[in-house]
Each structure stands twice: as structure tokens, then as C-alpha cells.
Amino acid sequence: MTQIPGLAEEHTSTPLSSSQSITLRIAKYNPVHDTEKKFMEFNIPYEKWTTVLEAILEVKKHFDHSVAVRFSCRQATCGSCGMIINGKPRLACFTKISELNSNIITVEPMNNFPIIRDLAVKFERLFDTHHKVKPYIIRDDTEITSDTKEFLQSPEELEQYIQFSNCIKCGLCNSACPTMATDSSFVGPQALAQAYRYVADSRDKGKDTRLKIIDESHGIWRCHFAGSCSQVCPKGVDPAMGIQLLRGYMLGFKS
């Protein structure tokens, strides 16, 4: 562990000059030459509105430019800054330091995702599994060939899936899932919830196709309803609900 005291000379445009401060522990790991994670510690002042992402960016600006972190929108919309914060998957931009109630904040890359470097992880597998469940409306008459050119839907029909369309593909659910901790082939809560999002869409006719895709040895049946995915979702998607409702079709509870 390396302790780097004091601030560098450089000035920040948004100075964090509060009397309160926390110790930010950042996991450093480069798969090219490191065998295991090392933690760097930084003393960071914070205000009650300071987010973990802002604290990490403060470190990047003043202490260690090399910290690798992926971020973009800073408002829980792009789903880029997912990481393990004090042991739980969270969006760094959506997590205020003050709400963690701890003087030590430990940030690590998300579990169940290969590490690129430090806090940045690869999303290829998440996008692959997402793509695998055909995340788009399937029907024979497409907009291009249909005379009507639009598919009407009642507000009640919209309610059936709108919650699941809030998914920002941040990967927190896959990171929290206990099955994914050991099963590299599991399709995962993110993709399964998206399968439900389209199956429940009244415009979609691809239910049978999708149910067939997820009915395999590492498909929907490897979910055991532990619900950790729903507890960490920053958008209220509740993947566990979607998965169980989807499984309801396969067990004959729904048609």
C-alpha cells in the first residue's frame, strides 16, 4: 500500500476545500504486468454532495494521473462508472461519499468483468449476452413493409415492460449476481431482464425464439432468485422480477 500525503501544486477549477476528508483506497491493477491488485490510499476532502467519481477524478487531477476509470455523463445515464464501492457494486457518479457513512472508501473494479486496468473493465461479454437475447422487436410485418407504419400500444401494455427499458447496461447486476461469481457461461441478469422487456412488449412476436435461447444449461435456470441484482440496480429495473416473470412463461404460470 502506498500513502501519498498532501496535495500537489496544481489548482482545480472546482476546489474541494471542506474540513471533512476521507481516505480513498483505489485498486490498482494492470493485467499485463501485475499478479494481484494493490491499493493506493489518498486523503480527499469532500463536501456533502461530493460523489465517489468526483473524488476519483480529484485523485487523477492532483495525485495520480494514471488511475484508469471509465466515466462519461456523471448523472447515472451512461452506465460507464460502475465499480465496487465499499464492497457493493454502485455507480461512482450516483454515490455520494456522505451517504456511505465511512471514513474509508474502497473502490475496486466490478467483479465478473475482465479488468482492462485499475477500475476500468471490459464489457464485451455483457454486450454479447445482451445481443444474444435479441434485444429488439421481432415481428414478421416490419415498419418498412406495413401499411400502418406504427404499432399501437395501450398505456397498460406499456406498463408491462417500461420499467425494464430503463436498463443502462452498467453491469452492476451482473457484478452482484452470485451465479456469475462462478459461472462464466451464465447469460446473466442484465440480458435476462432485457429478454423479458421484449417478451412483455405487446408489439413483439419473438417470445418463443427468446425463450428457446435462454432455455439452456447456462440460461435462465441458473438464476436462483437471490435478488442481489435488483438491490444494486441504480435505475430501479428490478432484474429479479423480470427473470421470474420470464420464467413464469416457461413454467406455465403465464401465457
Binding site: 462462478t182 459461472d183 457461461s185 432455455d215 440460461g219 435456470w221 413454467l251
Partner: protein, 112 residues
């Protein structure tokens, strides 16, 4: 076999076994726990054909449920085509083995 069929068998065998296991345990309690385990009592149970039949059904249901459950856990621990085939067949063989061994006890005691 499709995974959904395997899991429906897993759930179905569990539900069916719950009632029968309850009867099996109640038989121990209604006769008095220690008395019910006496040799003569146990032999009498095995000779009573409906009870012996129930034991056989419990044996089959719990073997199926138990080994499908074990297969699920093992499939989640490690992946790979060969590993998964080995696990699936091993669990099936172990299930058949256990059913055969238990059936042998039930039949031999019931017949003799």
C-alpha cells in the same frame, strides 16, 4: 434433454416428495420414536406393501431431486463441454445407482 424439462422434473419431484416424506416422518412419531426403530417394527413396515411402495416412491423422487440439484451446483462451479457432460452423466449414474441400492433393500426385506 432441454433444461426446462430437467428443472420441471426437479420442481415436480420436490413437491411430490414433500407430502410423502411428511408421512414417513409421522410414522416414526405416531409409533413413538424409539419403538418405531425397533427391528420388528421396521420389518413390519417393510412388509406392509403400501408403505414399502411409498418408500420406493420417496427413494426415486428424492434421488432425482437431489442429483439434479447437485448437477445444478456443479455446472455453476466450472464450465466446459466435456466437464458438463461428465457431470450430467455422473449425476445420472449416481442417481440410478442409489435408486438401485435402495430398491434392493426394500425388495429384499419386503420379500423375505
Amino acid at each position: 434433454m432441454r433444461e426446462s424439462i430437467i428443472m420441471k422434473i426437479h420442481y415436480g419431484s420436490a413437491l411430490a416428495a414433500v407430502g410423502l416424506v411428511a408421512v414417513h416422518i409421522l410414522m416414526r412419531l405416531t409409533q413413538g420414536y424409539a419403538e418405531s426403530l425397533e427391528y420388528a417394527n421396521v420389518i413390519r413396515n417393510y412388509h406392509f406393501l403400501p408403505y414399502a411402495g411409498m418408500l420406493e416412491i420417496i427413494l426415486i423422487l428424492l434421488s432425482i431431486h437431489g442429483f439434479i440439484g447437485l448437477r445444478v451446483i456443479l455446472l455453476e462451479l466450472k464450465q466446459g463441454r466435456i466437464y458438463e457432460k461428465v457431470i450430467s452423466y455422473s449425476c445420472f449414474i449416481a442417481m440410478i445407482g442409489l435408486i438401485t441400492y435402495g430398491t434392493r433393500t426394500i425388495i429384499m426385506v419386503n420379500m423375505g
